[in-house]
């Protein structure tokens, strides 16, 4: 009797757990991706083909205000607006975009293995990444810069000696500080929001990453007037749109869309709607710099 009761309880518990496990399903990259796209990711069914069938999976950041920020079920920011422009240019509905949260470290694997079709996530074009994925764009020229308290006297990275500067573990900006400005004390966190909190509390003297990301944080209402971006970028970070290495046709197509966006006002509108809040005027999209999608 006792034994059966224990067994029954156990069975009920397992059942409940299994049901809980199967119960909810919000596809934010959890169950999707493994099967589709891996085998058939060639030019014929590339991004253009997928867009024609009405759905695209786009990797974006979830925690960068102004660029890619998850606000519950939706995402907002400049990268998201770019995604919408591209979707429109490919002739599909905005509602067909499925956003997938990516972090810096999994952008290449996600493209290579087909978890996402495109990555628009503050994604710097560089030679090392070009060996793994293809880039359309750049759609924005960012540069590493410093965010400091409004009253700070720091105006250049050379003045960081002995100061505490914050960045994200494993990121390129962090590495550049480690290599080029060895006298700075580097504080690393796993997200920029923690760096910003530490800056607000004066635990660090500066936060460093791409200027556009810093501008996004600085323009948040909680921090209005507290911080300033130094405004002298000391690196070039051309933001590109990542897609599969062999999908040259789609890459060319996206560059065409960007060219159109530069002149028809949609690029400026995207900026004004998002990062315009930082007070910076919309930049020009320099179409002469677009990649050749090799």
């Amino acid at each position: 009797m006792r034994m059966t009761r224990v067994a029954a309880t156990a069975a009920a518990a397992v059942l409940a757990l299994t049901m809980a496990a199967c119960g909810s399903d919000d596809g934010s990259g959890t169950g999707t991706g493994t099967g589709s796209g891996t085998g058939s990711g060639n030019t014929a069914t590339g991004v253009v083909g997928k867009a024609a069938s009405g759905s695209l999976k786009i990797g974006v950041k979830a925690d960068q205000p102004g660029l890619g920020l998850q606000t519950g079920t939706a995402y907002e920011g400049f990268d998201i607006e770019m995604a919408k422009i591209i979707a429109k240019g490919l002739g599909m509905q905005e509602s067909g975009i499925q956003y997938v949260t990516t972090v810096s470290a999994n952008r290449e694997p996600y493209i290579q293995q087909g978890t996402v079709d495109l990555v628009i996530a503050t994604y710097t074009i560089n030679d090392e990444r070009k060996t793994k994925v293809n880039f359309a764009g750049p759609y924005f020229m960012a540069g590493q810069d410093l965010l400091v308290p409004a009253a700070s006297t720091i105006t250049a990275p050379e003045q960081l000696a002995g100061k505490k500067v914050c960045s994200v573990t494993g990121s390129t900006p962090a590495k550049r500080i480690q290599e080029n400005y060895k006298d700075a004390q580097l504080q690393l966190f796993d997200s920029y929001s923690k760096c910003i909190t530490a800056l607000a509390g004066n635990q660090v003297d500066a936060v460093t990453t791409d200027d556009i990301i810093l501008a996004g944080y600085a323009s948040q209402s909680q921090y209005a007037g507290k911080f300033k971006v130094v405004g002298k970028p000391f690196s070039e970070e051309p933001y590109g749109i990542g897609l599969k290495k062999d999908d040259k046709a789609s890459c060319d197509k996206i560059n065409e869309i960007l060219k159109a966006a530069a002149t028809d006002g949609s690029y400026k509108a995207a900026w004004d709607k998002t990062l315009g809040a930082s007070g910076k005027a919309a930049p020009e999209l320099d179409v002469s710099k677009l990649t050749n999608c090799a």
């Binding site: 224990v6 757990l17 991706g33 920020l69 972090v103 978890t115 796993d190 909190t197 607000a200």
Partner: protein
């Protein structure tokens, strides 16, 4: 000996005075520290309404915290089922009479118990894709990591439980002609599972807490959504962490209480299985 009146005499008049003095002094000390913390938080503006306001809005809960709890529970529940199965299989494997089963099972269990979960999840998410030429979704990175680690710990718990079943039980079963698999299935494992139930449940608490490591692969669980993403929206990372910590404490306290209730209940019913010495795993991870 819980409550432990055994350790000290019934307090006499002097002891009562001494206890009262200690109570007052220590109580005052705690209150002083709490007040100091309160003052410091206030000084730094951590109680500013704008930082806490988001938690009064339904949308904050619906968009971040509740989906986060769902993500945490979904990963934890799936991993619990798998970890129990993994633990059962490998404990039986390790108890096998065949060395070609028991030795590999032992190596697997020992290895996964010794590797930090953080490394494990990171590797499953960023290393394994190179092996299988396909990406591992964050959900499965978390679940597989949790299963391998907690399953190994549970395997050891089951094994200790089987050893704790009095020898007479299995001897009697062999005497009536049962084979080893039958003895395991019908005599040893059920009794071991019951004897180890409190240990199993406290390991499940560990597992639930460890889902918090999911944020390193951007799996949308409570820590990722409730602290990282939420605070990116509202700039209130400290407040978000306090709220999320409170949620973890309530949920885990519930599970722990369940464990001690079961322990008391099985004691009262006086199961014949010897209490397996104090076997606690250190509550690894996150």
């Amino acid at each position: 000996m819980s409550g432990n009146p055994v350790l000290y005499d019934h307090p006499g008049p002097r002891a009562r005075v001494r206890n009262a003095v200690l109570t007052v002094v220590f109580g005052a000390l705690i209150l002083a520290v709490l007040y100091w913390i309160y003052r410091k938080f206030d000084e730094k503006g951590q109680f500013a309404a704008v930082l806490w306001e988001p938690f009064l809005k339904g949308a904050t809960w619906n968009n971040f915290i509740i989906p986060g709890i769902e993500g945490t529970l979904k990963a934890a529940a799936t991993a619990m089922v798998f970890a129990l199965a993994f633990g059962l299989i490998f404990s039986v494997g390790r108890l096998s009479d065949h060395r070609w089963i028991s030795v590999p099972a032992g190596i697997v269990v020992e290895f996964f118990r010794a590797v930090p979960l953080l490394l494990m999840i990171f590797f499953i998410s960023y290393g394994v894709p190179f092996l299988i030429q396909s990406s591992v979704p964050p959900f499965w990175s978390v679940v597989i990591g949790l299963t391998l680690y907690n399953g190994s710990v549970l395997a050891e718990a089951f094994r200790a439980g089987v050893h704790a079943v009095p020898k007479g039980q299995s001897e009697a079963a062999y005497a009536v002609g049962m084979r080893k698999s039958l003895v395991m299935q019908h005599i040893l494992v059920p009794q071991a599972a019951r004897a180890m139930l409190p240990v199993i449940i406290s390991q499940l608490v560990v597992l639930l807490k460890d889902t918090a490591l999911g944020y390193i692969v951007s799996y949308p669980e409570l820590l990722q959504l409730g602290v990282n993403v939420l605070s990116a929206n509202f700039g209130n990372v400290v407040q978000a962490a306090i709220v999320v910590a409170a949620i973890y404490i309530v949920v885990n306290f519930g599970l722990t209480s369940l464990a001690s209730w079961i322990e008391r209940r099985s004691k009262r019913r006086g199961t014949k299985t010897q209490p397996v010495g104090p076997l606690v795993d250190g509550g690894a991870g996150a």
